[in-house]
């Protein structure tokens, strides 16, 4: 049985009550889950003996600029045993802009989630060290949101005197 079927079966058998959507585009497999269940599903995917997704490649977010479900947090994980890459998506609404942190599952998620917080303003609950990554700590805005202009807000970053 190929790996995609294996993942589908395992997830539907072990989490029958959770709402999981499967999709595929250009040979890339993707699952979509609710943000409350993300921690459980991620630790299952890492610890299961056949799946073993031990490498967290990237955590990022997409800003759709819509009224409902404005952000989607995207996780890219990789399994060395099966040589397979999986994408996990989860919608986050702007009114409750937070999601559980998966730092307890993958240590690499520490900096990756910090970068996502710095750029988009999504709070990761129970993150050990949530501070800004690239912009200075006093910066008040979130640069990669669609309502932040490319040239920045004049006066938001101080410059030394001549």
């Amino acid at each position: 049985m190929n790996i995609k079927e294996l993942i589908k079966n395992k997830l539907t058998n072990n989490f029958p009550n959770y709402q999981i959507e499967f999709s595929e585009y250009l040979d890339e497999f993707c699952i979509k889950v609710n943000k409350e269940n993300i921690l459980e599903i991620c630790s299952f995917l890492k610890n299961d003996e056949d799946l073993k997704f031990i490498l967290s490649e990237d955590i990022t977010a997409v800003d759709w600029a819509t009224r409902k479900n404005r952000f989607t947090v995207v996780y890219h994980i990789y399994s060395l045993k099966n040589n397979f890459r999986l994408k996990i998506k989860s919608d986050v609404d702007e009114s409750d802009c937070s999601i559980d942190s998966v730092t307890s599952v993958w240590g690499a998620a520490n900096w990756q989630e910090r970068e996502c917080y710095d750029m988009y303003g999504i709070i990761f609950n129970h993150h050990p060290d949530l501070r800004r990554m690239y912009m200075p700590e006093e910066f008040e805005y979130y640069p990669l949101r669609k309502d932040f202009p490319l040239m920045g807000i004049p006066g938001s970053l101080p410059l030394p005197k001549k």
Binding site: F148, L150, G152, L157
Partner: protein, 173 residues
């Protein structure tokens, strides 16, 4: 007519003294490489055997600002980094000169975005701008020669803000 007044006007001995001091300054310019990003690689290439910078007297690239007189800012300066660059410039002793290497330092280059300073002359006085992205090492050597020519034309009275200890002047009646 005291020594101080004599230093400000052009006499024969003073101009010769000026010429010797300017000649020795320009042939031993010690650069401070402020290497931030890609232009720093071309600055390293200026030091390698092919585009030798040692023949201009500048192979001593000290990384401490207290011993240098030329700061080569090579690479994109962001708002976060600008405070660091200014601090290092303030730590350099007089007389000092600045080369803005590359497009990013001259005008912000190809990065028109929220975090890049659009030109370091917003907070530093710049002497020579070098065009290119990144400029070829020959281009940087051309900029160094321009700075040397600029230094060769300086006189002692150009550095007025240097504190010369008060000399005892004997005034005629």
């Amino acid at each position: 007519m005291g020594l101080e007044a004599k230093l400000k006007t052009d006499g024969f001995i003073v101009t010769q003294l000026d010429a010797i001091i300017a000649w020795s300054r320009k042939n031993s310019v010690w650069p401070m490489p402020m290497g931030i990003s890609c232009c720093a690689i071309e600055m390293m290439a200026v030091g390698d055997p092919k585009y030798d910078i040692a023949r201009f007297g500048s192979e001593v690239m000290r990384f401490t600002p207290r011993q240098c007189d030329l700061m080569i800012v090579a690479g994109t300066v962001t708002y976060k980094m600008s405070h660091v660059v200014r601090k290092i410039y303030d730590q350099m002793p007089d007389p000092k000169w600045v080369i803005a290497m590359g497009a990013c330092t001259s005008t912000g280059g190809m990065y028109r975005s929220y975090s890049v300073v659009q030109g370091i002359d917003q907070f530093l006085p710049v002497d020579v701008y070098v065009a290119g992205c990144p400029p070829r090492p020959d281009n940087l050597l051309n900029a160094l020669i321009t700075i040397q020519e600029k230094i060769g034309n300086t006189r002692a009275r150009d550095f007025q803000d240097i504190k010369i200890p008060d000399l005892k002047v004997i005034q005629p009646n």
